[in-house]
């Protein structure tokens, strides 16, 4: 819970007395690789702060194909915010790609934290705006750019995931076929590889 503590204290700027109150209100869980945290049809009751490990959120289409919406490694929050806020069934699966330690953040926690700490309220507001910005950029990338641009964007956002997740998952996140991803990586190698 080192990362979550850092998140509350440094990023959300919560002073020590408030921190002591708030930290009691969250739940910590160890999730095994493959364990599912949310299924379509369920209402998403928590945001999952990743202390260590790796989560993903994804949908499955009618033909059974998975489409990865988001990866969440250390310090990321994975959730279905709209399901939580509007209290409606989610379309998403959330599961663990690696053994993962998560902090379960409930709406109650967000509300209480916002009440007792103005800095948390501000931080949560910024986090929400960031989330919207990220979503907008992602929609635009998926609609208007080629496989290489998507990949270049991906390695900037998630530098070490190429070492942690299989190619097909990256391809699924990028909305391209694994073959296209191989082609992009091959072309990059062709361009950038200089044997010494």
């Amino acid at each position: 819970m080192q990362n979550f503590t850092k998140y509350l204290k440094t990023k959300a700027n919560i002073p020590e007395p408030e921190f002591q109150l708030l930290i009691k209100k969250v739940e910590f869980r160890n999730i095994e690789k493959g364990e599912v945290l949310l299924r379509p049809g369920e209402v998403c009751r928590h945001s999952f702060f990743v202390e260590s490990g790796l989560l993903r959120s994804y949908t499955v289409d009618d033909s059974g194909k998975e489409h990865i919406i988001q990866f969440g490694s250390e310090n990321w929050i994975v959730s279905d915010r709209s399901s939580t806020f509007f209290n409606e069934p989610s379309d998403l699966f959330i599961d663990a790609i690696e053994d993962t330690k998560v902090v379960l953040i409930s709406s109650d926690f967000i509300n209480e934290a916002s009440e007792i700490s103005s800095s948390f309220r501000n931080y949560n507001q910024i986090a929400l705006q960031n989330h919207i910005r990220h979503q907008q950029k992602r929609i635009n990338l998926l609609l208007s750019t080629n496989a290489e641009r998507r990949y270049m964007n991906f390695i900037k956002l998630y530098p070490d995931l190429t070492l942690r997740v299989p190619q097909w998952m990256i391809a699924s996140y990028l909305g391209i076929t694994p073959e296209s991803l191989s082609r992009v990586r091959k072309e990059l190698a062709h361009k950038n590889f200089k044997p010494n």
Partner: protein
């Protein structure tokens, strides 16, 4: 005699799979007191104790992955592995063979059970070591030494009581077959029952052994069983190994590099910045390309 005593005997941990073809016990770096700094320059040891893999049409193994900053040494005891890398090297290593791959500035490789072995199934037993490179060689050109058992220089013990295969380093004026970038001794000690051998390494060298088969007695004081790992103290120089029953021992002794270690996944460098650079270079294709 200035005996080098045992510091600790480490039992094998629960095995885990690397890819789907290597069922290994990790000793270095996750074993108790076997972290990279303590074991320097030996920064990883995975040991696949004898395990039966049933026949499979699709060879099991590990798909394409990168390395930078160190060398991987694969020692085969049973079964066969086929290897391909982005420098164009490939080969099959079988019982008694050693593959010494210097990843250095960066390489992509994949390792699978050899096709025929995979089709027929069988017992598989291998050790993989990562040997760290001195900072000044971390970004040098990759290199590959495929060493068959016949090519390994050997020291015969008296009365056919065994043989010391000198993979690297030096044993009684028999020079190791593999070339290394820092002083490293790596021997396969094969002893018949009651066979014994004496070894001497500088006190400061980090020295350890793995009992690959059989049972041994060390310095006449302690019996060590199969699959157990022994770390020696950094005092004293002389070690005696006697086989209580026919045994194979992987013996390691190397001069510590005493340089900072920054490690993440398949990269081992000296600083966090160099690790970030390695990740970036890998993502941008600077390690080359290798077909899955």
């Amino acid at each position: 005699m200035n005996t080098k005593n045992i510091e600790i005997v480490v039992a094998p941990r629960e095995p885990h799979y690397v890819g789907d073809g290597f069922r290994v016990h990790n000793f270095i770096p996750s074993g108790y007191r076997l972290d990279m700094e303590r074991m320097d320059p030996f920064i990883l040891l995975d040991y696949n104790s004898p395990f039966y893999f049933p026949p499979s049409d699709k060879p099991r193994g590990v798909s394409v992955h990168p390395h930078r900053g160190f060398e991987t040494v694969t020692i085969a005891y049973q079964g066969k592995v086929a290897h391909h890398d982005s420098s164009g090297n490939s080969g099959v290593i079988g019982e008694g063979d050693v593959q010494w791959m210097t990843a250095a500035s960066g390489i992509l490789h994949k390792e699978y059970h050899e096709e025929k072995f995979s089709r027929e199934g069988g017992y598989f037993q291998m050790a993989q070591l990562w040997v760290n490179l001195p900072a000044k060689y971390k970004m040098s050109a990759p290199k590959y030494q495929g060493i068959t058992n016949a090519q390994i220089n050997k020291y015969q013990l008296k009365d056919n009581k065994g043989v010391i295969e000198v993979i690297a380093g030096n044993y009684r004026n028999i020079a190791g077959t593999a070339s290394t970038f820092s002083p490293v001794n790596m021997f396969n000690v094969r002893l018949e029952e009651d066979g014994r051998a004496d070894f001497s390494f500088p006190a400061a060298y980090n020295t350890a052994l793995l009992v690959v088969a059989g049972k041994i007695n060390i310095n006449g004081t302690q019996t060590v069983a199969e699959n157990h790992f022994v770390l020696f103290e950094n005092e004293g120089e002389d070690i005696n190994i006697e086989a209580s029953e026919k045994a194979i021992v992987l013996l390691l002794s190397g001069a510590p590099l005493n340089e900072p270690i920054a490690a993440q996944g398949p990269f081992v460098m000296n600083t966090r910045e160099e690790i970030a650079q390695a990740i970036k270079d890998y993502n941008l294709g600077k390690f080359g390309y290798l077909e899955e």
